[in-house]
């Protein structure tokens, strides 16, 4: 968990420095879910990840520097710099990702079908956000997994926001009930608590492994970085005065223009914007929802042993970043030429 946290913090730093281009979706805040689930997998088990797949790759044992290099687009990265962080693939680790929301479900079904044929007893795990739950392809994949009794474990990482939309405002009914309706047993767990995730995921994966068909776990969490680094509403939440100032003028002239909606409609939509901003601001003070800090407090090991462990992790991550930076300097094509 700590390696995931530190490597993603390092990646965030590289992104801020302009050494990584485009979007960057991190899993900071969901380490408890990733670790609590993936600890139950062994060789030959398959993982189907979404656009937030860095931690999953780390936990499956993919080389740290290969991941960092891939994020930087270097030729010696995990995918030769062709995929980037949203499109990480490691055939050796049976782990694939996708930047298309919901696509992890059907892929996992295919992986699981091949497991049934070729590697009985092996499973496939799909990771996705609760925002993906409304994608047809994901619901279709759950039905398929149920009727074909596929060994798929569906893991929904629920931070309550689909990009910057309240998931509850665009999701009908209850998710566990929905998946039960598709024939997949579902449970809910506090994803901040890695022990709780580990226990429930262990039982469910065991059942999946024994050929009892798919299962679904909804694990709640808070992601302080939101959907992606530079999330526009998080930027407003972090420095409201600077960020709101340029928006107020256009907003004011918009609502006072002729041919607009009614005042009631306008107040309603302004209220919703304020409400979302308020909730996102709250997520910035969510230290008690930090799975890494929470686990650290509960670990029953001597302080000096913990310090040693933490320093070991720091060294591992530093080494990976250093290697990537060295490669960026020597590589002809790597690095980000758009960086000033």
């Amino acid at each position: 968990m700590l390696i995931c946290r530190r490597i993603e913090e390092a990646i965030a730093g590289l992104w801020q420095e302009g050494r990584i281009s485009g979007e960057m979706h991190l899993g900071i805040g969901e380490e408890g879910i990733n670790a609590g689930v993936l600890d139950h997998l062994g060789d030959g088990d398959a993982v189907s990840l979404d656009h937030r797949g860095t931690a999953g790759m780390v936990l499956r044992g993919v080389d740290l520097s290969a991941i960092v290099k891939e994020c930087m687009g270097l030729t010696d990265g995990l995918c030769n710099g062709m995929g980037g962080h949203m499109h990480l693939y490691s055939k050796d680790h049976f782990a694939a990702s996708s930047g298309i929301v919901g696509a992890a479900g059907p892929t996992a079904c295919g992986f699981a079908l091949a497991q049934q044929h070729l590697r009985p007893g092996r499973v496939a795990v799909a990771f996705f956000g609760e925002g993906a739950m409304n994608q047809g392809m994901l619901m279709e994949s759950m039905n398929l997994a149920a009727v074909w009794k596929l060994p798929v474990f569906f893991v929904c990482r629920d931070n309550g926001l689909a990009i910057t939309t309240f998931s509850a405002s665009v999701t009908g009914g209850d998710l566990e009930e929905r998946v039960r309706g598709l024939g997949v047993p579902g449970k809910r767990v506090n994803g901040v608590d890695v022990e709780a995730v580990w226990h429930v995921a262990g039982d469910m994966i065991d059942r999946v492994r024994r050929g009892k068909g798919p299962a679904f776990l909804r694990a709640t969490c808070i992601r302080p970085e939101g959907h992606f680094l530079g999330d526009p509403l998080i930027r407003i939440a972090r420095s409201p005065l600077d960020r709101l100032k340029p928006r107020v003028g256009p907003l004011f002239s918009a609502v006072t223009s002729t041919g607009s909606g009614t005042v009631v409609q306008q107040v309603k939509s302004l209220g919703k914007i304020a409400c979302i901003l308020g909730r996102i601001t709250l997520s910035q003070f969510g230290f008690r929802h930090d799975p890494v800090l929470r686990l650290r407090k509960r670990l029953k090991i001597a302080p000096e042993e913990l310090a040693e462990l933490e320093s070991e992790v720091e060294q591992l991550v530093k080494k990976a970043v250093k290697e990537a930076m060295r490669s960026a300097k020597t590589s002809e094509q790597g690095g980000v030429p758009c960086a000033r």
Binding site: Q16, E17, G18, S21, G22, E23, G73, L74, T75, C79, G81, M82, G83, G84, M86, H87, G99, I100, V101, G102, G131, A132, N134, Q135, G136, A162, I163, T164, T165, V170, F228, L229, G230, D231, P232, R235, R247, L251, A254, V255, S257, T258, G259, S260, G261, Q265, Q266, K268, S269, L270, K272, I273, I276, Q333, G334, V336, P337, C338, A339, R340
Partner: protein, 336 residues
């Protein structure tokens, strides 16, 4: 005349259309954040955030358009059209014909497209050739703020489905959202004339399917759309120093395609260089070659396109996109 950015022009034209016609409604993912001004002005009733379910809400947009609304559905990126392909290919494009011309689908699908900001091959494709391949779909790719507003006004007024593609390098809202994310440590090769320019005080529709000449020349015709046009103009300036005179033709829409403009211009220059940010095979570039052949024009022809999946690595990404160097090299070869 006013001065506006590409993104402001689109929002302004959209606001004008919404104020004039209550049937114009917006829906798409995250529109309360992405279109905050319109959301505040017109309310959630008309600017409606959707779940992440492109197949569902694009299919609903087709139905809403059939039933009397004039929806402007947003896909964020045209790459995500693949998730909702059925709504466009099998429904929006077919209904007018299937109904014997009695039932129309006045729908606009807005989406970002195009590369140059390093987001990988699943988030910056062009795909306009794929869309224009389908009879019944119109596909528009504006390259300037004035065109963006005027073409959007025409698209909303059109009685059929129109895919309106906004290049992510030109639209500063997309670039900020997907590329820089508020960083000052990154920069992009953005064509100035495409990012900001003069626009009319009141939006008037620009007829779909009419090309615009961006530069006059006698030796060679360079044709394309979007950012490719700006790269072509830059290359043409470079070539003029070497004594090569190029005209640059901005097609502005892929379907309908202004075949007359192509045939007329190439009739003069006898050489056509297509600059196309879409994939090379079975697309716009080949269609323009077929247009010349069908017109019986014995022209020299070359194309600068994207030849494989766009690499994530920004250096290789930029080399894979039509850039000034590739265009100038191809033009010189055509002149040999």
């Amino acid at each position: 005349m006013r001065k506006m950015t590409y993104a402001q022009a689109i929002e302004d034209a959209l606001a004008q259309a919404m104020a004039a016609d209550e049937r114009v409604v917006i829906f798409g993912e995250d529109v309360h954040t992405l279109r905050m001004n319109l959301y505040a002005r017109f309310g959630e009733h008309r600017v409606r955030p959707t779940p992440i379910s492109e197949a569902g809400f694009l299919g609903a947009a087709v139905g809403a358009a059939m039933a009397g609304l004039r929806p402007v559905a947003e896909l964020i990126m045209i790459d995500f059209f693949a998730v909702a392909a059925d709504a466009l290919i099998n429904h929006a494009a077919k209904i007018e014909t299937f109904s014997g011309g009695r039932w129309k689908v006045p729908l606009v699908v807005r989406a970002g497209c195009g590369g140059g900001y390093g987001d990988g091959g699943q988030h910056q494709q062009a795909l306009w050739g794929l869309l224009a391949h389908i009879p019944g779909l119109k596909v528009v790719v504006p390259s300037t703020p004035a065109d963006a507003g005027g073409l959007l006004t025409a698209a909303i007024a059109d009685e059929g489905p129109v895919v309106f593609l906004e290049h992510q390098l030109l639209a500063e809202d997309w670039l900020e959202y997907l590329g820089s994310g508020g960083r000052t440590t990154v920069s992009y090769d953005i064509p100035v004339a495409g990012r900001e320019g003069e626009v009319p005080d009141l939006w008037e529709p620009i007829e779909l399917g009419k090309a615009a000449t961006r530069r006059e020349g006698s030796d060679l015709t360079i044709a394309g759309v979007g950012v490719g046009i700006h790269r072509a103009v830059e290359a043409a300036e470079l070539l003029s120093l070497e004594g090569i005179s190029s005209s640059v033709l901005d097609l502005r829409s892929i379907a309908p395609l202004d075949r007359d403009a192509i045939v007329t211009d190439v009739g003069r220059t006898s050489r056509l260089l297509v600059v196309d940010e879409d994939y090379r095979d079975y697309g716009l570039a080949g269609e323009l070659a077929a247009t010349l052949l069908e017109a019986g024009l014995p022209a020299c022809y070359a194309r600068v396109t994207v030849e494989g999946t766009i690499p994530f690595d920004p250096a290789r990404e930029r080399a894979s996109l039509p850039n000034v160097n590739r265009i100038a090299t191809a033009a010189r070869r055509l002149m040999e």
